[in-house]
């Protein structure tokens, strides 16, 4: 029998989803996220309050961290559920950059102290590498064994971070965020902004060195790609709902627009794609959570599959949402653009869908053309 792990939501996952959804409905209304999306302060009071609620009241940052290391000892599957909910609301908190990217890297590289602080929310982490590239040590940094120098462009989650994890060649360093010079740049995704990070001869602590850093980065890259799919899934589901609801009430030509077959069929196709995205994202989360066995060893395939599929589905869903809202969808005051910007950025983050398809060719043993 083909052994496929459970792709359903366990009861604890449903409970967690409910708790997160209730909190976000109350504290993260889309209008407020929209309001602050173009404010200068990249991490203002509103976002901070949501983050502390999520971390202190619901303990979301601790989910994937083992209990013996100060975490909740749940798994990446639960993290995935939180990501779905945050994706639904394009919530501007550093959950993905800190609780997924930095946490997975700290875990894989054995940065035990930092991991514990990330779990409790004392620390907020960011990984210093361009968000638009698969996770590899960035060029442009030098490390002489004592100080790190250089600039890395378009790093996500820096404004929120207290600690920066810096991969340089085969070393992984940790630097206090205030030691770095972070230049916020206007970002395509206004609800997860990027910054250019410069180190001017900053002293750094070594977390790990040698081949194990390469292994840790690779696994962390897979975990992050696998989990980003759940954010994309949540986003896709939400924009599909928004679009269906809108077309049920908007009238033109004396008819509800949702009764036009040309539009119904597009939404039916989109719904079909979203059901596939859900299966793929759940599989990726299951593989991320497995510590051994066939699911664990399939993580790279699951992660690239997840990005190839969910990246495109979320983007198409957001673009359809914009298109089918017509002119109002093109206005600043309507939130459709927040979703388009997030979906477009997510499809660049950690490798584009095309990049992941190429990677799948190698993983699945499909030779490149001569």
């Amino acid at each position: 029998m083909s052994q496929i792990p459970s792709l359903l939501y366990a009861d604890v996952e449903d409970d967690l989803r409910r708790a997160v959804r209730v909190m976000l409905a109350d504290r993260a209304p889309i209008e407020e996220i929209l309001d602050r999306s173009d404010q200068e302060d990249a991490y203002g009071k509103g976002a901070r309050q949501i983050w502390s609620g999520l971390v202190e009241e619901l303990g979301v940052a601790a989910l994937a961290v083992p209990a013996e290391l100060g975490g909740a000892g749940a798994s990446w599957r639960e993290v995935a559920v939180v990501l779905e909910e945050l994706g639904r609301g394009v919530v501007d908190v550093p959950f993905f950059t800190s609780a997924v990217l930095a946490t997975s890297l700290a875990h894989e590289a054995g940065a035990i102290d930092l991991l514990g602080e990330l779990a409790t929310g004392e620390a907020v982490g960011a990984v210093v590498a361009s968000f638009a590239a698969p996770l590899v040590p960035p060029e442009g940094l030098t490390w002489d064994g004592r100080v790190v120098s250089g600039t890395v462009r378009t790093v996500a989650g820096v404004a929120e971070a207290t600690h920066l994890l810096v991969p340089v060649a085969d070393a992984l360093l940790v630097v206090a965020a205030e030691q770095a010079d972070a230049l916020a740049v206007p970002s395509l995704d206004m609800t997860r902004r990027v910054a250019d990070v410069t180190f001017e001869g900053v002293e750094a602590a070594v977390v790990a060195e040698g081949p194990e850093v390469v292994v840790a980065l690779a696994r962390s890259a897979d975990l992050a790609a696998a989990l980003l799919a759940s954010e994309q899934l949540g986003l896709a589901e939400r924009v599909l709902e928004l679009t269906v609801d809108y077309l049920k009430q908007r009238r033109q030509f004396g008819r509800v627009l949702g009764s036009y077959q040309a539009l119904k069929h597009r939404l039916a196709d989109l719904w079909t794609s979203v059901t596939q995205a859900r299966a793929v994202a759940r599989y990726a989360a299951a593989c991320a959570s497995a510590t051994d066995g066939p699911d664990a060893s399939d993580l790279s395939v699951a992660a690239s599959l997840a990005q190839a599929v969910c990246g495109e589905v979320a983007l198409r869903a957001a673009e359809e949402c914009l298109q089918l809202h017509g002119g109002i969808g093109f206005t600043w005051e309507h939130p459709a653009h927040l979703y388009v910007k997030r979906a477009r950025t997510d499809a660049l983050a950690l490798g584009t869908p095309s990049w992941h398809r190429r990677r799948l060719a190698d993983l699945a043993g499909l030779p490149h053309p001569a």
Binding site: G258, D269, W271, G365
Partner: protein, 394 residues
């Protein structure tokens, strides 16, 4: 192993010992397997099952196959196994179930589906073949078309109009028809592949006993819906292993034949690979939902997506084959051979798979169903639902 698995292994062993496949007649073996409840373990006891969860079935099949046991040639009786059996299980009397289900499963009796008519395909509820009551039987007249396997079949699921003065959905009834009844005329209908897998069926004063009616008089549409639901799940088709199904041939060709690796087709191949894997996981997820008794509406989406994948895969195969793709193997009019999966050229599959988006409800109809029943969008304005069927423009 769980208790259930241990018990199943013991039962399988029992059948294999009492009826060694090498020395046992094929049908005798299949009947013994059925009697032991190992035909389809999720069916009730006495009807080839043990009332277990369906997820145990693949293992049972695999153990029998590994022991060299004959199978029931499922390709030749897809409608019987996938659609007739669940409908009979739900709507027929226990005596009828005992009569129909065992030979259905062993393949001794093939089933077909007499639904579509020349004037009623997507709009199946407009079917006009008439049934007139005559004592304890009905007299049926009309024409059905595109009926797969009718030439092999002993039984048919038959949708007819018993109430022509009622609105179309209300005047239908559903019967099981014995195709050996006088007045049934099955004529082969050649299809674009050259072969004739389907038929036209003419019904001329065909008597069907009232006891063969499934569901109440006028409830034929409801029973039909139940059958079609099963059809769509069957066509959307469960989760095999990675790279099984329509994608299998293309990836094999790509791996084995360097000249097939055309750079311009590489991304298309990889897209298909991801589509196939996404679909496989979606099928698996649907299966898991069914196991916990919470079926989702994903089935209609699966059928739609499966058709697109199968068509795209077969078409890409032709591109990769280049000049070889210009050849065809055999246009002669013949009946398909279902004893094993047919060994045909890529062009055949390209053509055959075009039907995936037509048979069992077209892809357009699937999209209507999803948008209305799942997403709750309104139907197009309709002119045909409230007036008597006999007054509809035809």
């Amino acid at each position: 192993m769980t208790d259930v698995a241990v018990d199943l292994a013991r039962r399988i062993e029992g059948v294999l010992t009492a009826h060694p496949p090498e020395t046992t007649d094929r049908l005798e073996f299949l009947r013994a397997r059925f009697a032991a409840g190992l035909a389809w373990v999720h069916y009730p006891e006495g009807l080839g099952g043990l009332g277990l969860d369906a997820r145990y079935q693949p293992d049972v099949d695999a153990v029998f196959a590994a022991a060299g046991a004959p199978d029931n040639r499922p390709h030749g009786n897809v409608i019987g196994l996938g659609m007739a059996a669940p409908t009979v299980l739900r709507y027929a009397t226990p005596e009828q179930q005992q009569r129909w289900i065992p030979p259905l499963w062993t393949g001794e009796e093939i089933w077909c589906q007499l639904f579509s008519e020349p004037g009623a395909g997507s709009d199946l509820a407009a079917a006009g073949a008439s049934a007139r009551r005559d004592g304890d039987a009905w007299v049926v007249n009309g024409q059905k078309v595109w009926t797969s396997l009718a030439h092999d079949a002993r039984w048919a699921l038959l949708l007819v109009r018993t109430g022509p003065t009622l609105p179309k959905h209300q005047g239908l009834s559903y019967f099981v028809l014995d195709l050996t009844t006088p007045g049934v005329d099955v004529r082969s209908l050649r299809q674009l592949t050259g072969e004739a897998e389907f038929n036209e069926v003419f019904l001329d004063d065909v008597r069907v006993p009232d006891e063969n009616r499934l569901g109440e008089i006028g409830e034929g549409w409801k029973v039909t819906q139940a059958t079609l639901m099963n059809e769509r799940v069957a066509i959307g088709g469960g989760a095999g292993t990675r790279e099984s199904g329509p994608i299998g041939d293309v990836v094999r060709l790509w791996r084995e034949s360097p000249q097939a690796r055309r750079p311009e087709n590489f991304d298309a191949l990889l897209r298909l690979w991801t589509d196939a894997e996404a679909l496989r996981l979606t099928g698996a997820r649907l299966g898991q939902q069914l196991e916990v008794g919470a079926p989702g509406p994903e089935g209609s989406g699966l059928k739609l997506a499966f058709a697109e994948l199968a068509q795209a895969a077969a078409s890409l195969q032709l591109d990769l084959l280049g000049s070889e793709a210009l050849r065809y193997d055999d246009w002669s009019l013949r009946r398909p051979d279902f004893s094993s999966p047919p060994d045909r050229v890529a062009g055949y599959w390209y053509l055959r798979n075009r039907a995936n988006s037509i048979e069992g409800g077209t892809s357009e109809i699937m999209r209507n169903i999803i948008s209305e029943r799942v997403l709750g969008l309104p139907s197009e304005p309709r002119v045909d639902t409230d007036i008597p069927w006999k007054d509809l423009p035809k």
